[in-house]
Amino acid sequence: MSSLLYISISSDLTKDEIFKIDQQVKQNQERVCVFIKKLPSNSKRKARKLFLYSIFLFQLSQPVFVTAAVVLPLPPSIDKFSSIEESKIKVNHKSSQFINIYTPKVDKIKLTDNQIKEFNDLVFQLNSGSMSIDEVILQLRGGDGLIDLVVIIAVVIFANWYNSSFGAEGFMLQDPFAWWNGQYDSKSASNGQCLSDPPSRFERKTLQQMKQMCSLEPDENGFVMTYDEAYNLIKETYNGALQITPECKISDWQCAKKAYHFQNGFGIDLDSYPIDKKDLVTLQKADGGLIRYVQRGGKLPPRQFIKDSQQKVYDFCHRENTEINRNAIHYSDKTGRTPCIMFFNRETEQIALFNKTSCDLITADKFRTNYFNKCVDSGQVGNPTN
């Protein structure tokens, strides 16, 4: 990408100027590469997206005489940007022939006072829910002036950690400062997962400042956030889906909503995740569902739990002895008579029911023997109410 950026103006530069620019670009690219490689393995996809974005932001922050000549338009969205072929934005192979500067260990971020302020501002907005991660990234792109690369990387690393390790509760419900203090390190993590590298004393000081800014107190109703904030938090956290068959899927949101049933009826072992059964019971018992639960500061089911639950249902639906009724019906007092596809297994007495119109999961659970037989024989779950 670096070569693409200034190739159009290279005719006006001397050989030494090109060499100098190339050296600087290459050096910084290597730093970013090492950073991203050090991220948790389960966050590779997001890390790559953020990596591409960081490279782009870095290029924007280059001296004016380089960037001013760039006619590439800004990406309209991060997702679109991530679709750019990686091969086009990696390394300038020609320059790498005579530039061989490596920085093997760059996982310690040293922030200046100004950078601390920028970092604090961004993380505070993330923590308060007033900005999503994508919005922060957009802010980095379009903020006042060009925010230093170090701050960008700091936020990217923090945001990535928050997303990949704990899902939405990273900021709101886990202690972000514990991360900074090394409590989620491989040495400290009780579940054996290595979640981050320990920060330096300087970085801890930075977070200490943030801690004072970010304390959350529930209001008189016991809510730590508004409906909109909770809704947006869930929407941003659970924005994917697993396709079971061409006509059936499980959205992350629906899966989170039914988390208790998966744990109960699909044998998900909670010991493998940073969430307790009591949290799922609280979620199950929350009148008003997932949104109200989040408003009260409930801990969201981790993303890995969601992925594994979806996989369990996927496996169940694809088992040899699982049968399918494509003309099943679900009766709901809210939505009425809904045509469904029912996957059922007579041996395990589990049923997964999918809405034929939205394709999304309605419910998946292990049923009691008599009720299972009733549902399978009639092809119907629920009953028309008076």
Binding site: K285, G288, D333, T363, K366, P384, T385, N386
Partner: protein, 147 residues
């Protein structure tokens, strides 16, 4: 009243047998339903108590929904445990029919689960759900009084 012939030894042998014929599978299914129904029958007082609490407004509809499902799940776990350890209960002649009422309540719970889980339902009285439960309660009372 349902008429049936329950043979505990036959039930046990079918449970222990690995490769069942289609007829044997149907037979085992019938026995399994009876064992499951028997657990509902054994805990009928708790179900009735829950219904009475709902009708007398000691608990709200959502609480009933949660507690009913917990009661039912608990019976389901006992059922699995009994089956795994080849422990069988001799069924009561009314058990199967009583269990049908439990299925009816379960049907209502599944019909209302989306309502209970929706944000808009907060503070609702769920009158329709209450009325349905009251109807089932009256049917259960009538059934239990039958000879």
């Amino acid at each position: 009243m349902l008429k049936f012939n329950y043979n505990k030894q036959r039930h046990l042998s079918l449970l222990k047998k690995k490769d069942l014929t289609f007829t044997e599978q149907s037979e085992l299914k019938e026995y399994s339903c009876l064992l499951d129904a028997m657990l509902d029958w054994e805990t009928k007082e708790q179900y009735i108590d829950l219904l009475e609490k709902l009708i007398s407004r000691k608990i709200d509809a959502f609480q009933f929904y949660i507690e009913f499902r917990e009661r039912s799940d608990s019976n389901g776990k006992v059922y699995d445990s009994l089956k795994a350890n080849f422990l069988l209960l001799s069924p009561h002649e009314k058990a199967k029919e009583f269990s049908n009422f439990i299925c009816e309540i379960m049907d209502c719970c599944y019909s209302y689960s989306e309502v209970f889980e929706s944000y808009e339902s907060i503070g609702s009285d769920h009158l329709k759900f209450r009325n349905n439960m009251e109807e089932i309660y009256l049917k259960i009372q009538k059934f239990l009084k039958e000879e």
